[in-house]
C-alpha cells in the first residue's frame, strides 16, 4: 500500500514543473504537444484510480503518453494535414498505441524517408536479410488526416513510448 502514496507524492512534485510548449501562431493554426504519465491515486472513496499527470521527470522503463493537439483558430479551414512525429531518442514506441480519429496512421523505419503500415514494413536482420519490422524499429509516426480541419475546431492524436 506504500506505492500509491509514493506515486502521489511524485505526481505532486511533477505537476508544479514544466508545462507543454505552445507553438507559434502561424495562420491561426496552432500545434501543441503534451507529455503525460499515468499514476495511481486514491479517489474520494479511497479507491485506486489511474490519472494522467504532466511528465516532468520520468524513470527509465516507464510509459509516457504523447498527445498532439492541432487547433484552427482562424476563419478558414486547413486542408491536406499530416503530422509527423519522430519517436523521441531513448524511447521505444509502444506497439498499437498510436490513435487519431479520421487519420491514416503509418510508420517509418528509415528515419522518416518513407512511411507505410506496420504489416508492410521490413528491416534488415543481422545477416542482411529482410525481416518484418517491430515497434522497436519505428523511427517516426505519421498521421494523415482524411478530412480538412474546419475553422474553430481541433484534432488530437496520441501515441505512447517506453523510456529506455
Amino acid at each position: 500500500m506504500k506505492t500509491p502514496k509514493i506515486l502521489t507524492l511524485m505526481t505532486l512534485m511533477l505537476s508544479i514543473l514544466i508545462l507543454p510548449v505552445q507553438a507559434q501562431d502561424e495562420g491561426k493554426i496552432s500545434l501543441q504537444s503534451i507529455a503525460e504519465i499515468e499514476v495511481v491515486e486514491l479517489d474520494k472513496e479511497g479507491k485506486e484510480v489511474i490519472v494522467r499527470k504532466p511528465a516532468a521527470e520520468v524513470l527509465p522503463g516507464k510509459m509516457v503518453i504523447y498527445t498532439n493537439i492541432i487547433t484552427n483558430d482562424g476563419a478558414e479551414p486547413a486542408t491536406e494535414l499530416h503530422l509527423d512525429n519522430p519517436i523521441p531518442e531513448d524511447t521505444i514506441y509502444v506497439d498499437g498505441s498510436a490513435t487519431g480519429e479520421n487519420t491514416e496512421i503509418s510508420f517509418s523505419v528509415d528515419d522518416g524517408s518513407s512511411f507505410d503500415t506496420p504489416q508492410n514494413l521490413t528491416v534488415l536482420d543481422e545477416e542482411g536479410k529482410p525481416r518484418p519490422a517491430t515497434a522497436e524499429d519505428y523511427t517516426h509516426v505519421r498521421w494523415q488526416f482524411e478530412k480538412e480541419l474546419p475553422a474553430q475546431k481541433s484534432y488530437q492524436v496520441s501515441f505512447r513510448v517506453l523510456v529506455k
Partner: protein, 344 residues
C-alpha cells in the same frame, strides 16, 4: 615427489627438468561477463518530443512544429555476481584465497559504491578470516588479479565509481583457519551499497539527489546488492611421481648421446575430495630432443598438436609437455603420462 633412479640422477640434474602442476583452486578463474541490460536513458538527460504539422490554408503550404521535454530520473540499481567456481576448494590453513565478484551498475546514473566483506555468516561451519593488510582489491579491468595493478580497497577513500552499465571485478581475499575437517564450509558475503542512497526499493531520494539535477529513485535492488560464495575444505592433495628409464643404442641403459629416455609421471590423489582443472606441465630437458609422437596418457597415444586431445607438446608452452587431467578425486585411477626424449 619425484623419484628418479640413482643411476641417472646426475644426468638428469643438469637438465634442470621442471615439473609443475596447476590447480583451478590456485588460479583466478574467469567467466565470460554477464550481459546485463541497464537502463538506456541516462539520468538527468532531457527527452524531447517534436511534432511537425504540414497543411494547406489560404492556398499556401504551411509547416508548423512544436516540442515538449521531460527529464529522466536517476534509477539507482546495482547487481553483484560471483564470478568464481563456487564453492572454492581450499585446504585448511590456506592464506589469501580470493573470490572474484562482479559489480555492475544497472542503473542509469553514475554511482559510487561502498563495499563491505562479511565472513560472520550464519549457517556455515567456519568463518573465513579476512586477509591482511587488505581483504578487498579492485580490479584494473582485466578480470585477473595482479597485486601491482589492482588497488587495495579502503571504504570511503577509493569507493569504485561506475557509469551506467559499467562493471568492475572485485577480489575478496580470505585466509582459511587451521584445524578444519573435510567438507567444512565457510561463507563470504560481499555487500555493495550506492553512496547516493540505499534502502527500500522505489524510495524517492528527493529533488536534485541524482545526476544532472535529476531526482534519484532507488530501483528494484534498493540501491544495494549482496552476493556470497563459499570456501569448501578438502583434504585431497595431488601427488606427482616422476621416473625415467634409459635405453642406449647399444642395448644398455647408459645416458650417452643417442640414448632414449622414457619419462613417466604418475598423478594420484590422496586424502578426500575433488581437485579440479588439473594440468600437468613438464619442460623438455636441455640437451635432449623430444621424440615426436611419443606422448601417451594411460598407454593411449596423444598427438603432439593442441586442441585434439588432452595433451600437446610445444603448443601450449614452448618446449613443454602439457597434459590436462581434468578433475580427480581419491577414487580416480592413477593417471600415467609418458613421453620420450633422445639425448643430443
Amino acid at each position: 615427489m619425484i623419484c628418479i633412479s640413482r643411476h641417472i640422477k646426475g644426468v638428469l640434474k643438469q637438465f634442470h627438468n621442471l615439473l609443475t602442476a596447476f590447480f583451478a583452486c590456485c588460479a583466478i578463474s574467469m567467466v565470460l561477463p554477464f550481459e546485463i541490460m541497464a537502463a538506456g536513458a541516462l539520468a538527468g538527460s532531457e527527452i524531447t518530443n517534436q511534432a511537425i504539422l504540414s497543411y494547406r490554408t489560404g492556398g499556401l503550404n504551411q509547416e508548423l512544429s512544436t516540442s515538449t521535454s521531460f527529464r529522466v530520473d536517476e534509477l539507482v540499481d546495482l547487481n553483484l555476481d560471483v564470478l568464481d567456481i563456487n564453492p572454492r576448494i581450499v585446504l585448511a590453513g590456506d592464506t589469501n584465497v580470493p573470490i572474484a565478484y562482479r559489480l555492475t551498475n544497472v542503473g542509469n546514473g553514475t554511482e559510487s559504491v561502498r563495499l563491505t566483506s562479511d565472513n560472520a555468516i550464519t549457517g556455515d561451519d567456519f568463518s573465513p578470516i579476512a586477509s591482511s593488510p587488505f581483504s578487498i582489491y579492485l580490479d584494473d579491468g582485466d578480470a585477473t588479479f595482479d597485486i601491482d595493478l589492482d588497488a587495495p580497497y579502503e571504504p570511503g577513500i577509493n569507493d569504485p565509481t561506475l557509469a551506467s552499465d559499467q562493471s568492475i571485478v572485485i577480489f575478496v581475499f580470505n585466509d582459511i583457519p587451521t584445524g578444519l575437517t573435510e567438507a567444512d564450509t565457510g561463507i563470504n558475503e560481499l555487500r555493495a551499497e550506492a553512496v547516493t542512497g540505499s534502502g527500500t526499493a522505489w524510495t524517492d531520494l528527493g529533488p536534485n539527489s541524482g545526476d544532472n539535477n535529476s531526482t534519484a529513485i532507488l530501483g528494484a535492488s534498493g540501491g544495494q546488492a549482496n552476493a556470497s560464495a563459499s570456501y569448501l575444505v578438502t583434504t585431497a592433495s595431488l601427488t606427482l611421481n616422476k621416473s625415467a628409464t634409459i635405453s642406449d643404442p647399444d642395448g644398455g641403459n647408459s645416458p650417452v648421446p643417442g640414448a632414449v629416455i622414457t619419462y613417466s609421471i604418475v598423478a594420484s590423489v590422496t586424502g578426500t575430495g575433488t581437485l579440479d582443472n588439473i594440468v600437468v606441465t613438464d619442460v623438455i630437458p636441455n640437451n635432449t630432443t623430444y621424440e615426436l609422437n611419443s606422448l601417451r596418457l594411460n598407454n593411449v597415444s596423444l598427438s603432439d598438436e593442441s586442441g585434439d586431445d588432452a595433451g600437446d607438446v610445444g603448443q601450449t608452452s614452448i618446449d613443454t609437455v602439457t597434459v590436462s587431467l581434468g578433475s580427480m578425486d581419491e577414487n580416480t585411477t592413477n593417471q600415467t603420462i609418458e613421453f620420450q626424449v633422445t639425448i643430443d
